[in-house]
Subunit: 129 residues, 4 copies
DNA sequence: TTTT
DNA sequence: TTTT
């Protein structure tokens, strides 16, 4: 079975580094990917795709990217579900990144506020390795 | 911006042909795509990806595929949202197929029950052309 | 059968518009795609991929791109062969572009020398439609 | 820079296992990928794409595939050149496989003639890792 | 709501 | 909850 995704788009917000309880770095970004066609009002819309990035690429993303940065992501589609507080099942489809490329002009982020790191609990089910 | 998806998987159920009020054929299938790794219980899981297929490829899918058929889909990721009856916003990520290939042994479906066609209302927003 | 290629790289030279005898615009570009790993001398090399672009996208490429422009190409691999003047068979593998995206900073090429158009003979075999 | 290829096609011959002098398993296969359109004589042609497969996937390919087997390959395009005995430079474009999937009915190859293993010299330049 |  |  084959499951291959390639996206180039812009980050919708500053990425934030999280850590699993085992110390694995992870970040979750949303890519805004402009469509190649216009809607009935003549506007170009975008698709907003959730991407999960693990380990070293996660750290690089947080270090080198900000809201609006153009990135290329290759990876695979992953689906999962959970039950929300109303007891309703919620279905999630996201991209697990295999690699991420930083495209476009690289602004100088050296003096930027270092983004905080949060320790989170990630279920083993979510791990892509 | 680039948005490219390639999947090979199995249909989770018999596809069903629908028609928009303008007469456009459309079908929505779910592809079960086996993962290439095992979970903590040693099992191989699958991702279940929603795919929307339009026009002639929709008709071909309904004619030539059944539950369990292996198909290859190329297309793009599309996101949308709607508010459910509880007034909660629901986010949907799906693949809009550009092309579909029928892989694997083709069973003889000639004598199969012809699947019904339903006329549905599809918002213009959902149309990928 | 599935045949899907996605590339992001830089043009190795200014693109040049050609026309088939039927008046179809076509341009052939080479994309330099940097590898993600270093060779035994610690250098990053690139792959140089031939891409054929037809019709409106060909015209856009010649108008908006120059040597060094970053572009994203989706398409399919195509192989062909011919016999050179020494009578030896030469095998060619290239990408036929389905779409091309102009990424990165768009310089102002308005006042640039308009590139020449050449009429060429293209065998029907080479046409991807 | 992004370099992503997905192919589904048939092996044009039985795969043969080779070994580099360091003991790395490698096999080179050609995939026949049928086109989705007909030429001017109404025939469907195919593209013949060279693929290089390394390590465990190489061994699996030789063990489980034969001429005609349907396989899915994901990987990246690689270009290289060498000078032939006439002193002419020859350019090669091939796919370096990242993963390979065995699709379609799996015949029982248990009693098949075990294919021979040959030790070959592969330049470090060709190694994709 | 999931396929072999 | 959305980017330029």
């Amino acid at each position: 079975m084959i499951n291959q995704v390639t996206l180039v788009g812009r980050l919708t917000r500053d990425p934030e580094l999280r850590k699993t309880s085992d110390g694995l770095p992870v970040t979750t970004v949303t890519l805004a990917v402009s469509r190649q066609f216009r809607n009935q009002h003549g506007e170009i819309e975008a698709d907003f795709v959730q991407c999960t990035i693990w380990k070293k690429p996660a750290e690089n993303t947080v270090q080198y990217c900000r809201k609006g940065s153009v990135v290329g992501v290759t990876g695979r589609l992953q689906t999962r579900h959970y039950d929300n507080k109303e007891g309703k099942r919620v279905y999630v489809t996201e991209v697990v990144a295999e690699s991420i490329r930083f495209l476009g002009a690289k602004p100088n982020y050296a003096q930027a506020e270092p983004p905080p790191t949060v320790t989170v609990t990630v279920t083993k089910e979510e791990l892509p390795f």
